[in-house]
Structure formats: C-alpha cells, structure tokens
Symmetry: D3
Subunit: 338 residues, 6 copies
C-alpha cells in the first residue's frame, strides 16, 4: 500500500522513508514521537503516542532509513491525513539490504519526472556534438563525472525552492539543454541569437551546477557541506576544470577554456547572487538567463503540484512572496471554459 492510497478510517500497512523525527514530552513525563514519512509521491505526518527514551534515540538515528508500518490509524487532521500508532510495536526500521540504491530511492524519494536513463542518453548525445568542436570539453566533462560527480543523476539541484528532489540537478540541466537547443540548434531552425556558440554553452550548462554534488550532501540530506561553505559550487567547478585540464594534458590557458570557465563563474548573473564576475560574453549571458528561466519555471511547476485550479497558492518566498494563481487548463494549454 502506498501513501497516495491513504483514506480516513482505513488502516495503513506499508513502507515509507523516515524524513524527519521530533521526540517530545507529554505532561506526565512520557515521550511521544512526531514523524514525517514519505514515499515517491507523498509526505505525511505520523504520531507514535508512546516511546521509551531508548526508542526515541533509535528513531532519531533512523532518519533517512525506511520504516515498515503495520496497521496505522488514519485520521483527518487540519485538512491532511495523519497516521497514528500507539507505540513502536507497529513500526520496524528496515535496513537497506541488497536492493541497489536507485531502486530504493526510486521507491521512497520524490524523483524527477524524467527517468535517469532518458537523461543520461540525452547528455551522451550532447557530448557527442560538443566533442566534434571542442574535444577538450568532452574530456573535461568525462573526467569530472568520473572523479567527482558520480551521483550527479541522483542529486537535487537545491536545498529547497527549486528542483529539490532526487535527480533534480540532472533534470534542471536536461531542461536547460533543451532550452538552448530549441533556441540555437540549427537542426531545429535558424539560431535566434547570432554570437552564440552552442557547443560552448552546452558544455557550460552541463558543468554549471555540477559542483553542487560536493557543495551539498545527498538527496536524502541535502545540507551544505564544509567544502560547500568554504568554497561554492561555482568555484568548485571552476577548480575541477583546471584539474581536468592538467590531468589530461589540456592547456588551461587556451581561449576555449578561459571562456568556458568564465561562463561557470558568471552564471549567477550578479555579484550579490554569488558570481565573482558578471557576464562579459553573450554566451555567459545566455547561460545565465536560461538558468534563471528554468529555475523560475520550475518553482511555479512545484507550487502548482498541490494547488487546485482557480485558487491562489501559498506565499512563495522564491517568487517574491507572490501567492501563485493556478488557472484551469485545456489539453492545449489554453484556459478551460465551462
């Protein structure tokens, strides 16, 4: 049984990832636990009305693991469905065994709307194009993927607000590549902007946020790391490119490398947003603007997920505190007319 099948009054038995734990004390000195659990699509609150101190400690350290839950009551509570069990008898922490990581996370984590395989294939196709013009970029990207960013396809793009799900980072870059190709790939039509170097920008898009695989922890716990605090994904990637050049006999002072690294440095667009330099080439400006576009569109798409048509959503910090309006849609994207 999955969380999306919850119904008030029907008991739940199934597995879910333990996302958050709070141990609280009742007036009589006893402890109870307030959990948040999720599977690939939903997140719910769950109460365990009585835990010992021992069990409290055990639960706290099980964050990021999976719980097997038996016969939990399901009650409506403040417009949501909440699970409750009396004590830990109905709950067991499941150790991840020989199920490989992607299966496991595919089940319990919210993940990108496109599969890893589709994204991997698309990246490969882009690399093939890039390689024709800039063989050095192909070498650099492969070096970084192999040595540093092996969990690239499973990484979130942000700690919150946009693409904060499994594979969010890859999905963000996947759509940015699509944006770029639509605007500039001659196979689709005459390129719209004249000084744009499509293969330069394809490489820059693939690399621009890749430092986040070190700046932030895993998808299960996407906090900033020590390295991410001392450096940032921008300078981490800037650094990896240097290393990739040196380790592969590429002259890091050649113009193509300088220009690629400039795009990485400038992709946040403004100094106050963390770029040590502002875009000085049309390529750097375009990559910055496509990044801005995809992240803002994604924030609307995420806001709309749990929102009813014809209503205002919650105030959204990333969108200047707007309460997004969701319109009813026809299949062709136009307004639904009753």
């Amino acid at each position: 049984m999955q969380l999306k099948d919850l119904k008030a009054g029907v008991r739940f038995t199934g597995k879910a990832l333990l996302k958050e734990v709070q141990i609280k004390r009742k007036k009589d000195g006893d402890l109870f636990a307030h959990l948040q659990i999720q599977d690939g699509h939903h997140l719910n609150h769950m109460m365990v009305w009585k835990v010992t101190e021992q069990q409290g400690i055990q639960l706290s350290s099980a964050k990021g693991k999976v719980l097997a839950i038996k016969d939990a009551d399901v009650n409506p509570f403040n417009d949501q469905l909440q699970l409750t069990v009396n004590d830990m008898k109905n709950i067991k922490v499941v150790e991840r065994q020989n199920d490989d990581k992607s299966t496991w996370s595919g089940t319990y984590l919210v993940h990108a709307p496109v599969s890893s395989k589709v994204m991997r294939d698309y990246f490969q196709k882009q690399l093939k194009e890039i390689k024709k013009v800039y063989p050095e970029f192909d070498i650099i990207i492969n070096y970084i993927m192999k040595h540093y960013a092996h969990d690239f396809l499973a990484h979130p793009a942000a700690k919150s607000m946009h693409h904060s799900f499994l594979g969010g980072l890859a999905y963000h870059e996947y759509r940015m590549l699509k944006d770029l190709n639509r605007l500039q790939n001659p196979k689709i039509g005459k390129p719209l902007y004249h000084h744009v170097d499509i293969n330069m920008d394809r490489a820059a898009i693939i690399l621009h946020d890749i430092g986040k695989t070190k700046e932030m922890g895993t998808a299960e716990n996407p906090d900033y790391t020590i390295l991410g605090t001392l450096s940032s994904h921008i300078t981490i990637c800037f650094d990896w490119i240097k290393e990739a050049c040196d380790q592969n006999g590429i002259d890091s002072h050649q113009e193509s490398i300088e220009l690629l690294r400039h795009i990485i440095l400038a992709h946040h667009g403004r100094k106050e947003w963390g770029s040590p330099v502002v875009p000085a080439t049309e390529d750097a400006m375009l990559v910055h603007l496509i990044d801005l576009m995809d992240s803002h569109m994604e924030m609307f798409e995420e806001a709309y997920v749990d929102q009813d048509a014809n209503t205002l959503g919650n105030r959204n910090f990333g969108l200047q505190n707007v309460t997004p309006f969701k319109k009813p849609e026809n299949p062709d994207g136009s307004l639904k007319r009753d």
Copy 2:
C-alpha cells in the same frame, strides 16, 4: 555616396540625416556649427567653419531633416573620419517630398535587421493561431494596432541601450515570439514547460511593449511623451485592452482577459522595475523572462557591432558596467582557432 564609403582625403558628396546640432562661438565672435549626421549605417561628425546667426538658427531647426552635402573635406580626427566644409554654400536642407516615409527612413535611419514585411507576415501567422483559441485576443490586438499603434513596425523599443533603432520594437517582439515558439510550439517539439498557455503568451508578447508607441515619440526623436510620463507603456496597454473589449462587446472581466492583462502588468518582473504587480502565473513569469532574455542578448549584439574580435568593448551601463569581450568566431559559432 554613402557614409560607409568615406575615405580620408577623398571629398564626400551625398545625403545624410541631421541628428544633432551645436552652434558655438569662436574667439573672434564668429559662429561655427558642429553637426552629427547619419545614414542607415553610420554616424559622423561634421564641422561648418563659418555660419551666420541666421544660418545657425536655420540649422538648429533642421534637426531630423536631411542635408544634401557637396564636396566636404574628409579628415581623420581622434581615430574617426570627420567632415568639414567652410560655410553653408556646400550644404542644403532637403525637404521630405513625395518619398514615402519608409523609403526615407530606410535610407537615413538605422533599422532592424529584418524587413517590415517579414515581421508583419510573422505577426499575422501568430494572430491566426491565437484566434483559434482566443478569438477575443485577435480582436483586441487588431483594434489596438488600428487605433493606436499604426507606427508599431517603425518604432524603437527603447530610448537607448536596447533595440533603439527603427523597427526595434517590432523586432524585439518578433524575436520574443520566436523564443516562445521554439520552447513551446508543439509543431517544433514537446513543449518544455507544462502549464504554459502558448496562445495566451503569444498575445501577451505582441501587446507587452505596444504602449511604447505612445510612451515615446517617433524613431527620429524617441523622447518620453507627456502621456508616457503620466502613465507608462504598461498601464497604457492595460488601458487599451479595456477599451478594445468595451468597443467590441468583449467582457473584460472574463478570466482570459484578466490573465492577459496580468501578464502586461507583470512583465517587468519586479515592482522596482515598474510593474505594479509581480508575476503570479507561470505565463506571466515566462513572458517576463523571455523579455529579459531578448533585451539582454540584444544589448550584447549591439555592443559587438563596432567591436573587434579578441578585444574588450566600452563599459556598458545596461550590462552592469561590464566591458564585453568579443570572441573570434567560426561560421558554426564556435571559437576560431588560428
């Protein structure tokens, strides 16, 4: 003879638009005139070493008219070619006669890189699509074009910095429509963003800056007007839509109109940039971002025009004071390697 054919030492005879005039006094009390003249591609400085007060006044009032120039000397001066004549004998102010406006401005004003006809046809095609889903938008756009924005195809998009040339406004919207279609037109590929209403946004793009035809004067003198100071192109267009509805029996309170007008109001993206509301729908956000993209790409393209490859250009106020770098390009847009 055109200004692009100027050579030091070779006398110039030809016509050019009088862009700027300054009358100055020499130490002996005599007056001379410092002119700026241009044709469709170039702008040059020109000195008339002796003018009477009468002629000075006549020249001052000829701003925006065309001069017929005979046998002007051409000398290098501070890295540019400058024209000089001794007095007004070699200069005649030409009245615009029966040459139609577009011919005239086509000759003497810098104009968009795409012809009016191409742009007009493209807008017509878009309108046909819009009309299928939102016939009311087609009526509104035609009403506004007919009653207020007849010089739309010949208008600059800005007083300076981006698209400040003849047809700049139309060209800006033409490329924004192309951006939108590339990203979202199902004929080109699967739409990249899911809640986007392409025909809503096509209409919004066509309308978003159309109020500039009243906010600013003509291409020859693109200063802000009184109405543009009291209102702004954003609220001018907001108003025209209302009028178009009321004059054509369209209910301005229906959802499609409210949403279209919201995009117009929100297209500057932030209150400090002149939008009275921030984008509250994914459509409004997308139109804002495409506007941002095209105007910034255009600023780079304009900066690159007179810049040599492998050099830094002038500090660019619209681009955060960067000195843009122009790279040498191959035909495929990639870096030229020597």
Copy 3:
C-alpha cells in the same frame, strides 16, 4: 455582557465573533479547540477543553460567525484574561438572521472612530464641491461607488498595520480629505501650496484606495483576492475610471482625466512601493504625501491604544521596528507634568 467587562473569577455570558480557530490534539488522542473571539472593542483567547471531530469541523467552518457563550470561566493567563469552557455545551453558533449587516458588524467588529453617517455626509459635501469644477469626476465617483464599491464604508484599508478595522478605508480617506482641506481650502485660509488643484485632489483621494474593495476580501476576512493578486488596487481603480468614462460618454483622453488617473497610478510614490510611475505633478505628489502622513499617524494611534503612558510599546514593523514611546498627555495635547 461585553468582553471589556471581563474580570478574573467572574463567569462570562455573552456573544462574540469567532475570529480564529485552531483544533489541536491532546496526548490521549482527544481534541481541544483554541479560539480567538472579539466584539467591537476587545479580542480574547478562549479554550474549549474537549471537542469531538465533528464539533471541530463545525467550529472551523464557523469562522466569521458569532458565538453565544454561557458561563465561561475567566482566568488570568500570561497577563491577559482567557476564557475556558469544558466542552461545546456552553457554546452555540448564532446564525445571522434578520439583523442587518451594519448592526451586526457594529456590535462584533472593531470599527472606525467616526460613524458611517458622518463620513457619508462629508464625502457628499466634497462631491458637491468637486462637481462644480469637474462634473465628470462626480459622475465617475458615483459610477464606481454604485457598481463596484458599495461596501466602501465598511471596508478596512489594509490587511494589517494601519486602518485594519471596519470602515478603515473610509476613515482613512475621510481624514486625508480633511488634511487636504485644511491645507488648501480657501474657506479655511490662503492655500499653502500654489499649484495645487483642490478639486482634482479631492477626487483623487476619494478614488485612490477604492480598488481595495476588490483587492481584498471583506472586513471580516481581509485577505487578498485573486483579482487583487493579478491586478492591484492601483490598476483596478485606474481601470474603473476608464469604464466609468466610457459608460457615461466622458472622453477619457481629456486632460482632467489623464491627470486624475496619473494621481491614482503615482499615489504610492515610488516604484518599489507599487506605483508604476512616480509623481510627475504637484497634485500627485501632494496626494502621495497626505496618504503617507495619514497612514503613519494612524499606525502610531493604533499602537498607542493598548499602551500605558510613559512606556515603550512593542516593536512595530510598519514603523521601522521602533518601540513607540507614549507620553502622558494633558487635554491640550501637551505633556502632563506631575
């Protein structure tokens, strides 16, 4: 019995509006309710120690209705008096019956310190003056009042911070009109500022915030509406004026209308505060400044209501986080000297 008569230890029986409801769960699984109730002058917290799920749902949907409360205990709690009942036996939700709205809200909502009648009469008097010089303004204001702003006299001026009470909007404009008349009405003295057009500004003051009747919900629930999110009270009013002109045969392009609409657009004074244009006429500047004055004075007056003399109040977000100081006053407004 009214809330202002509450005393610790004396049981309360009376009626009060239900302003806020939270249903919470106790450790034994039972629910209790935390209410906020108010009448025309006071707001108090109230606990219902045991509610069924059914009752919880019923209470939640009674927000904005009136409760008849019987024999509630009154206890001091954290410096305030709190009401408690054991269960719902002592509480009944009262349906609004044949009591007209103003009576009802007069009893249960905090309302402006001046009666609706006084304010209505004053507005009428102003309109009579306006009409002598600008008959078109009189028509416009009457059209808007009739078609859109019928609850104008009962609307709050803001969701929080200033004039957020019943009739707050009318009271704000009433005092702004008084400010204007004091400064500029020749009957009171020589006008203080020379280019001010008093009847233009009277009309602008009456209209400047009138769009709030649509931007925000009712006084009982002053949240932003969908239309208020897509447009704003500034552009809503700008639009109504257009409609009023068109529906009444007034030329909306005549100078008086353009200038009136400019004041509406510019009355927030700065773009970052939501005005699409900044004040370009002395009239627009004056209306902006009187608006600024009245709203800031009101924030002090509201802060002082529950504050003791010779103390600092709470940090006030609308007043740059100051902790206002309230001085002891003599009847003539001067400092009280002991």
Copy 4:
C-alpha cells in the same frame, strides 16, 4: 535696467551680482572670461573677450560682489540671451558700501516669496503660544537665535534642490508651521491627529533645521562648513539645546526636553537619511512628514518657475528623476479649459 528687461540687440547698462567666474585661454594665448551674473530674478551668461592675467585674478576674487556693467551687447545664444563686452573697460566691481545687507541682497539675490518681516512676525506669534505651555522652549529658541542663528532669516535651506534661495530656511519653517497649524490648531478646527502636542511640534519645527546656519555657509556661498562636515545640522541643534538649557538653568533631563530633542534627531525619518534614531513618538513622525511634504512641494514649485504650461520640465534629481508636467491653471487652481 534689470536682467529681466534684456532684449536681443539692445545694449544693457546696470548692476548684477557676479556668481561664477571662469578664466579661459584663447588659441593666441590671450585670456577671456566667462561670467555668470544675476539679480533678484534672473541669471545670465556674460563673456569678456579680452582680459589680462591681472584682470583675470581680480575678477576671480570678485565672486559674490556686484558688477556695474555699461553698454554690454545682448545676443541670443543657444536659446538664451548672452551679454558680451570686449574688455574690462565696460565693467567695474562695486564695493558694498553703506547699503545694509538686506537691501543689497534683496536686490541681487533670489529671495523667499514672503518678506522677512512677515516671517519674523509669524515666528513671534508662534513663540507666544509655545511659551504658554513650555516656557523653557521659548528661552531655548531665543538663546539659539541670539547666540548662533542671527542670520536665520537670510539663510537658504539647502545647497541645491529645495529652498536654495535667500531666506529659504525661514520660508521652509514658516510654511511648515502653517501646515502644522492648519492640521492641529484648535482655533482652525478640531485637531486631526489625537496624540499630537502642537506646541512641542511648533518648537521642533522652528529648531529642526536651524543648525544649517552653521552647517552651511552664507546664502551667497552655501557650501558645507568644516563644522557641518564633522557634525551635521541635526546634532548641531541637538547640542545647542543642551547649551541653552545649561546656560539658563533648565534641566535638560526633564521629559519635555528629551522629547523635543528626539524630534530634532529623528526629523529626517530614516537612518540612511541622516537621523541617528527613527521617529518614536507621534510628534516626531508628524514633524518628519511635514518636513518631507514641504520640501517636496517646494521642489515642484521651483521646477515650475521656468516651465511653460502643458510641457514636461527637466529631469529632476530630487524628485526621482521625473520630468515634471505643468498643467495650465485657472485662478482657482483647477485645469484651464480652452
């Protein structure tokens, strides 16, 4: 003959104040002088086509003195009338003799639209009211006027942008007092704001900018002084009040003095505008807002002086770079209708 009577082609003979001097060199090594001269209403440019080095030095040191000019040519130049003389034979520097200062400056400096006498009488009347409630304030104001601010009535209120004319400071405070009295004087009507202490605020208005008499130099040369750079008019006045108390046996720690000094400190309203504290009392807020109002209204009035009706003026730095629009007016301040 006065500067307002200048006509092209008619020679000018008369007196004017020398406001600015620039000595420049012609190509043949000779010097000429470019002057700016003014009387009570106008400012004109004037050229002296030949000066010796000796005369150049003499002219440079005559800034702020009066020139007697004989038979200067008057020519139109760049839309203005310019005076020219061949050499210094036609110019004589006039020493100020036994004409008292006010006569002299009344003739040659732009001055407030209300006479010193009218303003002095009005201040006296206010002081009489203040004294009834706060005799200590009367003593303080008289002390400061006598010891520090004797040229108060002849001081400009600002180096540029608002009230930058002779008597500008007094005129600014005169109109602020009128604003306050209109709003709050019970003789005029019921006070509009309830916690306002009119005599406290009258005193604060008289004092708020009085430190400018030391912060800036004289009306003839309103530059910042050393003391004005090390301190500011805000803290200079704060200090004078202390001294006035101590020299007159007034306890500077009593509440009336603390509150008065708070208004002085807070009257710029925001820290970034130079107030070390933000307004914490309703009185401080009101004085700040009246100050804001009068200075902004004055900027419009000054902008309108040389502007034609129905036109846009110059970009105005103090008014957020707006180009003010001046409407045609009827005697009653309403729009003129043709």
Copy 5:
C-alpha cells in the same frame, strides 16, 4: 554543584539565576512552568511539572533573581540536559542579601574573560597617556564615568550577537585599545598609519560606546531604555561630552573637542548604521574600523565556544548567515595535523 557538572541520571542541587519564565497550561487545566536558568558558564532548561497560579505569578516576577534548587532530575532531551522537578517544594527564590553585586554577578552571569581589575588598570594607564597631550579629555572621561557610567565595567556591549555578557562593554573597549596601541603606539614599533593621533583615538575608543550604559538596561536585563529609544548611545555620549566641558570650564568649541565628538558621531561608519555623519578624518575612520574588527572577531569567538572542531556551527545572523567552520588548532594557532 554547578551547571557544568550536570550528568544525566545524577540529581542536581545548587543555585542558578532565573533567566526566562514561561507559564503554560496542561490539558487538565493545571499549570506548569518552563524555566531557563544559568550560572557563570552554562544555561539549561528546567521544567516544574505543577505550579499553582500563585506560584506562577511568583516565578514570573523572580526573573533576574537566583533560585536554590534541590534534587532536580537531570534527563537528556533533544541533545541537551534538562532539569525537572515535580513542584515548587524543591525550589526557593533567594533574595540577594549582603553579597555585593560583583560577587553575585560573578557567580551567576556569564562574564568577560578578563577581570574587572585588569581592565580598570589598563584604562587608567591609557588615561595617563591621554592626559599628557589632552588634559581636557581626561577630565571629560572622568566626569562621565563618575556621573553616568559607574556600571561601565559590568555592562554588556550589546543586547545580542557580540559581547552580550557581563563586562562585555569594557572588554570590547579594552581590546579595541589594545588593537590601537599595537598598530600605533611608538613604544611597540613605528606607527603604521601616518595621520593618526593615538591619544585622540584612545579617548574616542573609551567613550564611543559608553552611552550604552544608558541606552540599554543592566547586564541582567539588557533591553533598550526609553532614553535609548529617543536618543541613542551615539548622541547620548555626544551630549555628555558637552556637559562635561561646560561643567568643567572646557571650551567645547575648541578643535580637539570638535574632532573627538566627530569620532563619536561617525564611529558606526555609515548613516544606515546609525551614524549621523560619515568619517571625515583618518582618526574617525580608524576608530570605526577597529570597532568593526573587534565586534566581528568577537562574534566568531562566541560562535566557536560551543562548537566542535571540524564542524560547521549554526547560521549566524550577525555574520551574514554564515555557518562558521571551526578548525582544529595547535597551541600556536596553526592547524592540527593528525
């Protein structure tokens, strides 16, 4: 027994200061108390599971007093040790008797890492140096210390974030004086900056924050006072200097006093940070920069106190929301290498 000796499972008996009190209600109507208690080094949470209303009121008014606690249980709770007692039998409020204040606060308040005596001696030594060059400054400082700032050595420097402990103010100035002497005292080496007047700056450092003794309450309750809200420590000190001059026959208009007062006014460095003027002398700039340095270094030192080596700390509002990294250190301050 002291709080630093707490162990889970071992009962605590000892004394601690009552820092915060919250009285809360349990579901059965009974009250319990949530306390925060501290001694010279630690702060802990403490629960009293049952209090009467009487006892609740008593506890609330005991904030800032000392509790004698007997046999409290110590349990781990959310990574901290928490104390619990069943009721008030185990707690007694201790009146401060004939123990002098410094002993008492030395025991129960967190205090500066350097003793009062050491700091007092150091200040005396500085004053001796200052007096040689500026005897008037010695008089001023002594006057202020005697009349206003007697609790200077026991005052915190800030309500939160830096030096918010007993003696924090003195410790801040003590280290700033050390900074200054290191950089500029000729006995230590050639002064590093050439226009710096060391004795001027010594005096300014001692005085710059001394107004905080009146701006904020005592170390036990460091809230802003009424005077601190109406004025600020900057203008309070500016004022005291004036008074000290006048009371001691020092001319407050002499240059040394003007320059000293300028440093006081300008020491926050920017208007938006509360300085009415910006630094106009090298001395003012240096004192501002040393103030900036010491307060920021202190914030790191305070953040590091409870942080483990090789970890990131909590987001720190005063340090631009950074999560400080604490490195493992060798005795010489260098990195510890394992």
Copy 6:
C-alpha cells in the same frame, strides 16, 4: 630640473613621462596638443600650440614614453602651473635605452613610500616564518611569484582610489602584514584574537591580491585585462594555488589548502563586493577586515597629500563622498595648538 621645481615665469628644461595626449583643432584648422606629463612626484598640464597631423599621430603613440622638454614657458592657469611650447621643436621623445626598468619607473612614476628592497626583505622574513608551520604555503607562494607575478613589486593595487601607484600592491600587502603581526605576533605581545592562525593569514595576505598582476595591466597603464574581465583577481589566485599544488606534488584537498583558498575567495567580505563566499572562519574574517582597514586608511593618506591643514578636501567617491578634513598635526600626532 624636476616638475616640483616649476615656478611661474621660469622656463623649464627636463624630462617627464607622457601620461595623456589629446589632439585638438583650432578654428583656423590647425591642430594643437594638450598633454599631461609627470615625474615621480608631480603631474602637470602642457600645451603645444601648433602640431602637424604627423606630429599629432606621433605624440599619440608616445603615451607612456618619456619626453625631453626644452625651454617651456611656465604660466599660472586656474590655480596650477601649466607649461607651454609653441611647437614640437622644443620636445623630443626619448626611447628607453639601456636604463633598467626600475630606474626608469623610479624616476617617472609615482611610487610607494617604501623601497622595493625593504618590502622584498620583509616578505622573505615572513615566508621563513610561514615555512616553519606550512612548508606547502612557501612552495605555493614561490611558485606563483616565479611563474606569474614577477612584476608584483612594481604593480599598483588598484586602477584608482587606493594604492594606485608603482609598487602599490606590494605596499598594501606589506602594511597588511604589519597590521597582522602587530595584532597577533607573539614576539610583539600576547595575540589579541584567540582562534587566529598567524601563518595561515600571513600566507593569505601575500596571496590575496596577487591575481591583480594579471587582472590589471602594468603600473603605466593599469586597465583591466581580458583575463581580469573573464575571471577576477580572486579566482585567478584561487586557480594559481591549485596549479602550484599540482605542479609541486601538494595535495590540494588537504585542510590547510582548503582553508587558505577560502580566505582568498572570501577576502572581499561580501558577495556584492565580489567574493563568491562570505568569511566562514575567523581567519578569513580577520584578513578581510585588515584589507578593509588598510585600503581605507590609504585613501585618507592619499587624500591628505595635496590638502592644506585645517581645510576640507575634495569629495571622495571611495569614502562615501565625504570631504575629508585634515587637522594640523604635532610631531606626536596630536593636534597642533597655536
């Protein structure tokens, strides 16, 4: 003869560097040249009243070379002394021959107040200390100095505003090292801040601005380079450290290197000032604050150079537009008393 010896009326013969050239046209069509020339201490304007086009071109290309000037007239002009010659007969462009660069620039460029040798020795001494604790830092610094920053000792620290003279960069770091040592070197006294790693910070100071040797051109022409525009001195240095590690077998991922690079990245202190990360360690904060201190003190020192005691200087853009006040000084740095 040197420029400092210029006297009005005495002819000048000597050598000076040609800093700026403008060729202008006189009314009779002839050209003249307006030069700016300087030697080690002064800069003066110079006119050549007649040049041919040939000579104009020659002069323009001689910028940065040295002119031998014979018998130039010296005249006072606008408070400065100006040189004039009639034509090019009196001027000869001097080719730099076998005089080594430092001699040449020592003569003609404004240079740091401390000699290269003194600074070099001091850096060597610091390196010796650093090496004891962090031998890897010594290797890195030497690698960078050798491969990239050989002109470090002759570089300006900024294009304008602070340390913009020959050796300015070295001098800035030299004084920052002195600041650090004064505060933290145990040989001078007990270190003032407890978590500071002096050798870490010594290395960071030497490296922090060293990227400017590539970010900007030479001292003679300190414009931003292409690399400086694409990257910035911050990321250039960040990169060099990586390369130095890799080329010398140092593990760039060890903690000492990560922390050193963090200081480089964070030394501008805020993102809007160009640091991609904010200071996260006390070391990074200290280096940032010392950098801030030295650059601001230097701006005052540079402002004071040409300023008279007891006057206000020019508005200083780098110092928040203050007009610095320069006080008269005694030898002990205290105020001079007359």
